[in-house]
């Protein structure tokens, strides 16, 4: 049987995907491709060190794929948080996917599964209530964090068009939230005081990592199926989420919020550059209907469940206190 390669296994989601695949298919049928080694707890998983940002990465990948007999690739080497060295992020995400897609086509890989984000649609006031896969990603976004991902998706599809043997699935995951997740988003949810945009309260979707991993499994079982949104069963407004996590919110008018967050980001204090304020102002809620239809994937967790799971992980003492209070009541 053809083996499966997972890239970005040192990342949170990549690591989770690797672990799940090892559990379901056995350690021998999975290969971790990353510059860093996978979690030490995963015994027997073959690790091949490849740096996707190096010029010869595609040749090296072809060697690896042919030696290991790879039939499908899960590409999870993406940054979930914005980075200050945008050039490196571009090399890894956009160019790295180009190398990977080229190598997959050359090595006769049947299925390339690329991890992406619903944030690529861009947060805009004009967005419909539910973005579907027919809506175009925001390729003209001012955020390189977004455009790198859009380019990565395009690279994958352009190779799939040129080499019909290579099928591509792009899973656009909603914002991850849950135990163990560390992104700029969860870091914001770990602060005591959180700035919000005055007069805006958009709906957000928080995806539990178990649902994300479940969707990857379903997509691998189903085979190439194009772009799919993977979203939780419902949405929650941003302020509801923040207040449920007992944050003190400070409302900032949006004309001030953009430049101030840019300055903070530049000073190395902020979590994200100014254009990210869009994501706190406008909704980018995606529709999971296509994944339900094609993969039979139904999310098990709502946004609220994902948030509760994250809070229980992040603030175990207050969760314990709440449980004690409940027991006392009963």
């Amino acid at each position: 049987m053809a083996r499966l390669a997972v890239t970005g296994t040192a990342s949170y989601l990549g690591g989770r995907i690797l672990r799940r695949l090892v559990e379901s298919r056995g350690a021998d049928s999975v290969v971790a491709v990353d510059i860093a080694s996978p979690p030490a707890t995963l015994h027997g998983v073959r690790h091949r060190m490849v740096d996707l940002t190096l010029p010869g990465a595609d040749r090296r990948l072809v060697e690896v794929f042919e030696e290991e007999g790879i039939g499908a690739v899960v590409h999870a080497a993406f940054f979930t948080s914005p980075r200050r060295d945008a050039a490196y992020a571009h090399e890894l995400e956009s160019i790295g996917t180009l190398h990977l897609a080229a190598a997959s086509a050359a090595a006769g890989v049947k299925h390339l599964l690329v991890r992406s984000f619903t944030a690529v649609y861009g947060a805009r006031g004009q967005n419909p209530g539910f973005l579907t896969e027919d809506d175009l990603p925001d390729s003209r976004s001012k955020l390189t964090w977004v455009t790198d991902k859009v380019e990565a998706e395009e690279h994958a599809f352009s190779f799939s068009r040129r080499y019909p043997g290579l099928g591509v699935t792009v899973l656009r995951f909603a914002t991850l939230m849950g135990p163990g997740v560390h992104t700029f988003y969860t870091r914001i949810f770990s602060k005591r005081v959180v700035p919000v945009v005055l007069g805006y309260d958009p709906l957000v979707q928080l995806l539990h990592p178990l649902d994300a991993v479940g969707a990857v499994e379903a997509a691998l079982a189903k085979g190439p199926s194009g772009v799919l949104n993977i979203v939780p069963s419902d949405s929650i407004t941003l302020l509801t989420a923040l207040h449920l996590s007992d944050k003190l919110t400070v409302a900032v008018p949006h004309p001030v919020a953009y430049p101030v967050s840019d300055v903070w980001w530049g000073m190395g204090v902020g979590e994200a550059p100014g254009r990210f304020v869009d994501y706190a102002r406008f909704p980018f809620v995606a529709d999971g209907e296509k994944a339900r239809r094609l993969l039979g994937f139904t999310p098990r967790f709502s946004s609220r469940d994902a948030l509760s799971a994250f809070l229980e992980y992040r603030y175990p003492e207050s969760a314990r206190r709440a449980r004690r209070a409940e027991e006392a009541e009963a």
């Binding site: 006031g125 419909p128 958009p202 509801t240 207040h243 709502s302 809070l311 229980e312």
Partner: protein, 348 residues
Amino acid sequence: MKATARVEPVRRTAGTKRRAPSSRKRASRDEQALRSRLADLERELAGRRDGRDREGLLVTLARVADAGVRSLSWATLARLQRALYFAWHSEDTDDFGADPRFTETVEPLLEFLYAVWWRVETTGIEHVPAEGPGLVVGNHSGVLPYDAMMVQLAVRHEHPSRRACRMLALDMFALLPGLAPALAKSGSVRANPDNAERLLRRGELLGVFPEGVKGVGKHFRDRYKLARFGRGGFVRIALRTGTPLVPCAVVGAEEIHPVVAKADWVGRPFGLPYFPLTPTFPWMGPLGLVPLPTKWSIDFGDPLDLGEYGPDAADDPILVNRLSEQVRSTIQRMIDGRLARRRSIWLG
């Protein structure tokens, strides 16, 4: 002190409403009704459970007062802010962001505007379908979407089925701070073909003002002259979904903020498509935002059933234009009739 009982994961079967109904055609209507009833019950139950978990605003205020100002901490402030927020917001919204508790909270203010300030007289409410999809088409005016709120309230209060009428809001309102979340929470969605079609297929009642920006920012001298009805998008969606169109004439709203001149260049840096000058705005500051207490009437006309044309007719631009024009002239006629009978702007 009892802290967050909420951190415990709450298993709710949210999203029940969005799950696609059974493919079996027969009895699917009953099943849908049952499903929606079940979803309502679940929502209510979740609401009760949330209510039990959470301290109310008064309790929190009392606790803070009891603890004394000197012992104020970030956590206390956060708790106070949370109580304030949830005093008028539900913890659950529907999938488009409509918030029942928010609607409940602002309703008294809207009722005041409806019954006292504008003394709205509503006729023909029986033309609004009691169940199933419907598209109320009205004339837009009044600078801010007061007419939409009043039509929404008229349907909710005067119609025997007390059904909710979701408004299709202009993109421009979805961009404005304060107004954007308020509209979303009171059930409006952005005027977008995808949104409209999704909601109509679910059998919901929608309200639309096809004049759009041209109507809402109308000059005072153009009052009660209907502007172009967009490009007939609302007719296309009604044809595609087989939805009846209910014409609706709002008289009185066009005089609440008489736009005597426009200074659009003032609003442009703030992303506003127009900047109206009225006899009171912006000269009198915030007082200029108070709408004039005119006498209103909202008339619903005979519904126009588009079922006979079939969904393919949506691709026929000539038919779409003709129907759009037909609806426009119906509303114009209704307005003209009302204006002819009206003796005073203030008393009707």
